[in-house]
Symmetry: C4
Subunit: 206 residues, 4 copies
C-alpha cells in the first residue's frame, strides 16, 4: 500500500471531521433578533465542546502524522488500526454534540471519555504491533522507538479513566480533566516540535 495515499485519505477525513464540528453551533431557526443575545449565551456550552473537540482532532492529527512518518510500509494490521482511528475521528462530532447539548451531565461525558480512551488504546496497539514488527519502521527511528517505554499512553489513560468515573459524581470535574489532559497533550506536542526544530531547522524531510 502506497503510504502517501493512506496519508491523503486520512488527512481528508481529519479535515472533514474537524470542519463538520461547527455545523452544530447554530442558533435555532425562528429566534427573533431581540432574543439573539440570549440565544448566543445558550450556545456557550456548544462552543466550548466545539473548541474541545477541535483541539482533540487537531492534536490527534499531529500525533497521527508522527506515527505515520516513522513507518515505511503499511501491512494489513496497520491499515485496520488506522481505519479504527479514523472511525473514532469521524465519530467525534456525535459525542461533541452530546456534551454541548447536555452540558455537565453523566452520560455524554462517559461516552466522550470512552471515545478518547478507545482511540488511545488503538494507538497502544499500533505501538505494540510495531514493537513486534520493527522492520516496518524507518531505519533511523527503529532504535529510538524500541527503547521508548511509551509512558505517555499510561499517563493519558489514567486520567481518562478517572474522568469517566468522576462523570457519575462530579461532571464538571470530569469535563475539566478532559480539557486539562488535552491541553497537556497539546503542550507536549508543542515542546517536542520546538525541540526538533531547534536541533534541525533545515527542513530536511523527516
Amino acid at each position: 500500500m502506497n503510504k502517501n495515499r493512506l496519508e491523503a485519505f486520512s488527512d481528508g477525513i481529519f479535515a472533514v471531521a474537524i470542519t463538520l464540528l461547527v455545523l452544530d453551533v447554530r442558533i435555532p431557526a425562528g429566534v427573533d433578533y431581540k432574543d439573539l443575545n440570549d440565544a448566543l449565551l445558550l450556545l456557550l456550552p456548544k462552543i466550548l465542546s466545539y473548541l474541545l473537540s477541535f483541539l482533540v482532532i487537531g492534536v490527534y492529527w499531529a500525533y497521527h502524522h508522527f506515527s505515520l512518518t516513522r513507518i515505511k510500509k503499511i501491512d494489513g494490521t496497520l491499515l485496520f488500526l488506522n481505519l479504527l482511528t479514523l472511525l473514532l475521528v469521524t465519530f467525534m462530532p456525535f459525542p461533541t454534540i452530546l456534551i454541548g447539548e447536555y452540558p455537565f451531565t453523566t452520560t455524554p461525558l462517559v461516552i466522550y471519555g470512552l471515545c478518547l480512551l478507545a482511540s488511545n488504546c488503538i494507538g497502544f496497539l499500533w505501538v505494540l504491533h510495531l514493537h513486534q514488527n520493527p522492520q516496518y519502521l524507518k531505519d533511523h527511528y527503529r532504535n529510538e522507538f524500541l527503547k521508548m517505554k511509551t509512558p505517555l499512553y499510561i499517563a493519558v489513560n489514567a486520567p481518562y479513566v478517572v474522568a469517566i468515573a468522576l462523570a457519575f459524581f462530579a461532571p464538571k470535574m470530569s469535563y475539566a480533566i478532559y480539557i486539562v489532559v488535552l491541553l497537556g497533550l497539546g503542550v507536549n506536542l508543542w515542546k517536542q516540535m520546538n525541540r526538533a526544530a531547534k536541533i534541525d531547522p533545515s527542513g530536511a524531510p523527516d
Copy 2:
C-alpha cells in the same frame, strides 16, 4: 490524465463520504436528559448501519487504491468507471440512513444490496476493460493480472444476490449476510496486505 490528481479527487470523495455518515447518528432535537439513555438505545440501529457503511467505504477505498496502483494510464472508459464508483460511494449515506431508520425491513435492505451489487459490477467492468487493454497496466502487474481468474467478484456477488432475495423473507438474515461478506472482504484485504508486507517490508513504491 494525471493519475495523481484522479487519486486525490477520489480520495477526497471517499474521505468526505465516510465522514458524512455520522451526520445521521444523532439524538432528535428536544429530548430531555432523563430520556437520553432511551434515545441512545433507539440509536443503536443507526450506529450499526453507520459501522457497516464505514466498513464498506473503508474497504472499498483500499480496493480502489489497489486498482489504481496497477495502472499507468487513465483512458476515458476508466475515468467514467471511476466516476461511477464514486457516484455509488457518495450515494452510500442514503441507503445507510434507510437501513438505520427502518431497521430489518425489506426495501432498505434491497436498496443497500443493489448499491453493493452495482459497485461490484463496475469493478468487474474495470477488470474486463483492462483485460482488453493490458497496455494501461504497469508492466510488472500485467502477467499476474492476465492470469487472474477474478473469482472474488463471483464469490462476492453471489451472497449479495442471496441477501437481496432474503430481504423479502428474512431481513435479519439478509443484514447478517452483508455484515459477513464485508467482514470477509476486510479479512481478505488484511491477509493480502500482510503477505505483501512480509515479502517486501522495504517500503519500495508499489
Copy 3:
C-alpha cells in the same frame, strides 16, 4: 503560486461539493415504513437532479483538470478565474436542490441554466486570458492551444441559452436539453481521453 496546492485545494472543493449533493436525497422524518415506497417514488425527481449535478461536477472536474494541466504558472487573473469556477461548483447544491424540490418548473431551471452558462463564460475568459498571455502555457501545448478555435464554448453556450428560454414554455424540454448537453460533454471527454491514451499509453506525465 504553487500549482500543486491550487490543484489540491480545487480537488478538495470539487470532492466536497460532489459528495454534499446526496445530503438532500432523503426521506422526510417521520415517514412510516408502510409509506416508504411512496416516499421513495416522490424522491425520484431529487435522485434525477442528484445524478445530473453529479455528472456536471464530475465532467467539469475533468475539464478543470485539463485546463490546469496545460499551465505552468498561475497569475492573479487565473487565480481569481479559478476561484469563480470554484464558487459556481460549491453553489451547485443550491440549484440542484431547487430542481429536485420543484421539478419541471421555470425558476429552478432558469437558475440552473444560468449557473451552467456562468461557469462556461468563466471558462471562456480563462481561454481568452491564456491567448493574451501564452507564456503561462507549457511549451508543448502552446502552438496547439493558439490554433484552437474553441468552438466547444459556442456549441455548449447556445443550447444552454435555448434551454433557459424554453424553461418558460416547456420546462421538461429545457431539463432534457441540460441532460443531453452534459451527456454530450461527457461523451466528448470520453472520446478525447481514449484517443490520447491510444496515442500514448505509457503513462508519461502530461
Copy 4:
C-alpha cells in the same frame, strides 16, 4: 513535521469550510412553487453573506498558501498558530449564517468582525515569530522578509476596528467596510501575483 502534510490538511479544511457555506443558502421546507420567487428574494441577504465569506476564505487561503511557501520548517508555535487559523476558518460558517439570518444588525456584524480581527492577529503573531526565528524561513525569502514593515496588518486591522464600532450605529456602513476591505485584499493579491508572474513566468517552484 512534514510541511506537505500540514498543507494537505490545511487545504482540506479550507476546501470543506468554503463548500459548507452553501448549506445554509436554501429555501425553507414546504414553500409552494407560487411563493418561490418571494422566498428567493428573502434569500438575498444569505447569498450576499455566502459570497462575502467565500471571498474571505478564498483570499485567506491564498495568503495562507504564501505564508507556508516561505517556510522550510514547522516548529510547535507555527503548528499551533496554523491550528488557530484553521479554527477560525472552520468557524466562519457560523458568523456567516448569523449575518445572513439577521441582516444589517449589530451583534452578527460584531461577531463577524471579531473573527476577521482575530485571524488577522494570528497572522501578525505568525510574522512576529518568524522575525524572531528567521532560521525557519527559506533562504531566499529571509532578507526580503526581515525588511518588510508589515504595514498590511495595520492597514487591515484599522478598518476592521472601525467596522466593529460602526456596527452599533450604522450596520450597513459596517457591512460595506468588510466588503471593501476584502475586495481590497483580493485586488492586492491579484496585483502581487500578476507582478510575480510577469517577473518569472517560467513556473519554477516558489
